[in-house]
């Protein structure tokens, strides 16, 4: 904190709130309502420095933060025939797709990349929430399948990072089928005894949560992420149950035994590297045997033989 944040910012807030916040310069924390300067957000990987709230991280930033030196290689995914149902609601799905592609510069809601993490070769499939809510249709399914195949081919661990509201409704039953499809895909990685790690980010719900996302050997969640099957609003409106505090948040899932750990973004990379290393480099001592280490013989403790 300095004089600027303490003094000038509140004034600025009073002046510009609520509408005239210049885009991209200041972002309002959805949790504590503080305005955060964009450079601060960049430094903290989109974590609010006031309350620790984890804002969504764009997919490129996500990949950058994970790989060694922020370096990775994106995989070009096979192109899928668009709009299999010729779906139309108030707008044609084909038009929605075209608009989202133009807006995001991405072909669909998943990015697949490979590179090194802590020196270990890793394949990562990360969802892009900005692309139609990260919803899973055939192209996303294809991304998971391609990522899994690449992991098997490279004998690498697979990390999948969902950020998805669930199935892509406009692809109807074919989006539902991606649940079975992606399940087979990640099972193939597991069959090869390659680590399959899922990093659950906000949100992971619906058909995505009820398939590959809940099948990780290790399940790590970012703090405060919404993770669950049924939407909270659906539960409230159809069943008329009151939702408990923190319902469907990462910490709730940890408490219910559904994830292994909740890890703040700043510690994610180190945690993932440690987990992968423990599973992949099971006896590094064996690699060091050739080194002439001068280790004294252990002194036997009393009472041992």
């Amino acid at each position: 904190m300095n004089w600027l944040t303490n003094y000038v910012r509140p004034k600025l807030q009073a002046l510009v709130r609520p509408k005239e916040v210049p885009e991209n310069l200041w972002k309002k924390c959805p949790s504590c309502d503080h305005l955060i300067f964009h450079r601060d957000l960049e430094k903290t990987l989109n974590v609010c420095q006031h309350c620790g709230h984890h804002l969504r991280l764009p997919v490129q930033k996500r990949l950058e933060m994970l790989f060694d030196d922020g370096k990775y290689q994106r995989i070009e995914l096979p192109k899928i025939a668009d709009d299999p149902l010729k779906f139309r609601d108030q707008k044609r799905y084909a038009d929605r797709l075209r608009d989202t592609r133009a807006k995001t510069g991405e072909h669909d809601a998943i990015a697949v990349a490979h590179g090194r993490m802590g020196g270990i070769n890793v394949v990562v499939a990360a969802f892009n929430f900005e692309f139609q809510g990260g919803s899973m249709g055939m192209a996303v399914g294809e991304g998971i399948v391609a990522a899994a195949e690449l992991a098997v081919l490279q004998d690498s661990p697979l990390i999948v990072i969902p950020a998805s509201g669930g199935a892509r409704m406009q692809e109807g039953i074919l989006s539902l089928m991606q649940m079975a499809r992606t399940t087979v895909a990640v099972d193939r990685v597991k069959e090869k005894r390659l680590p399959y790690v899922v990093l659950l980010t906000d949100p992971t719900t619906g058909g995505v949560s009820a398939s590959f996302a809940m099948l990780g050997d290790i399940a790590i969640a970012e703090p405060g992420a919404v993770i669950g099957f049924a939407g909270a609003r659906v539960i409230e409106s159809t069943i008329r149950e009151k939702l408990p505090e923190g319902f469907q948040r990462s910490e709730y899932l940890l408490d219910k035994g559904m994830v292994d750990m909740v890890v703040p973004r700043a510690e994610l990379r180190a945690t993932l590297i440690r987990v992968l290393s423990l599973l992949r480099n099971r006896s590094p001592a064996a690699d060091l045997l050739a080194l002439p280490l001068d280790i004294p013989d252990p002194v036997p403790e009393e009472g041992t033989v």
Binding site: A81, D89, E142, I173, R181, T183, D187, A210, F229
Partner: protein, 318 residues
Amino acid sequence: MHILDFEKPIAELEGKIEELRHLTDGGDVNIADEVGRLQAKVDKLLRSTYAKLTPWQKTLVARHPERPHALDYVRALIEDFTPLAGDRSFGEDRAIVGGLGRFRGASVMVIGNEKGSDTESRLKHNFGMAKPEGYRKARRLMEMAAHFGVPVLTLVDTAGAYPGVDAEARGQAEAIARSIETCLDIRVPMVSVIIGEGGSGGAIALAAANTVLMLEHAIYSVISPEGCASILWRTSDAAKDAAEALKLTAQDLHKLGVIDAVVPEPLGGAHRNPDLAIQTLSTALDSAFRELSGTDGGVLRARRREKFLDMGRAGLAA
């Protein structure tokens, strides 16, 4: 009998037939003629109505309360049915029924969503909406079947998995994911039938099978038409449009290659003649299981996995 809106003209004619029958006691030839004439009209109207049901009308037929449900099929087709209960960790979920029995003499593990048929049984079976323990029971039974080399038959009929706080607390998503995983893993023949409503994740959890059959007027969808309408049209009034757009009928799904065959229903839907519907399915099941029998379990598993791995890949752009 529960009459659907579009069935009303048919019901009116049938009402007239009933009245006439009461009048005569069978003796009057003129009235008997009139009854015959009206009956022909009913048949014609049924045929024309049911030949061109809209997706929304099919949705209503699929949910018809008098449509045969899983236990109706089990009672009629499965001998020595021995229900098996519980997930061995939390409880018994009656929204999913399951057990061992014999179909045409051969042992089979039957698992189905049961909606119930009156208020009492609907409550007992939670309207066919399963909680995690239901899917975990299904998984346990599938694994047991595989362990003993017994084929698996699933009867899918659910609006979806139960959207409740307790279900979420116990890991609804994980339970469904594991159930799908198990469907795709077992080394025995597996046949699934969408007998009524195939509602989203709660349905695919039991339906990743070697052979997926679907009744003529059943529906199978990623989301209910009402749910889809309220999200994409922002009003549930658009459910008819959503039903249309979702391509959720057996005929559409067969074209899309998502199901393997459509099982015909009696004229006027399964609810008009449950016995005939059940017998027709029996024949279809017999040939489905025959087709799979004799094939090595590992091959069946591999084929099943390939089949679902390819769903959507067929849509690869040239």
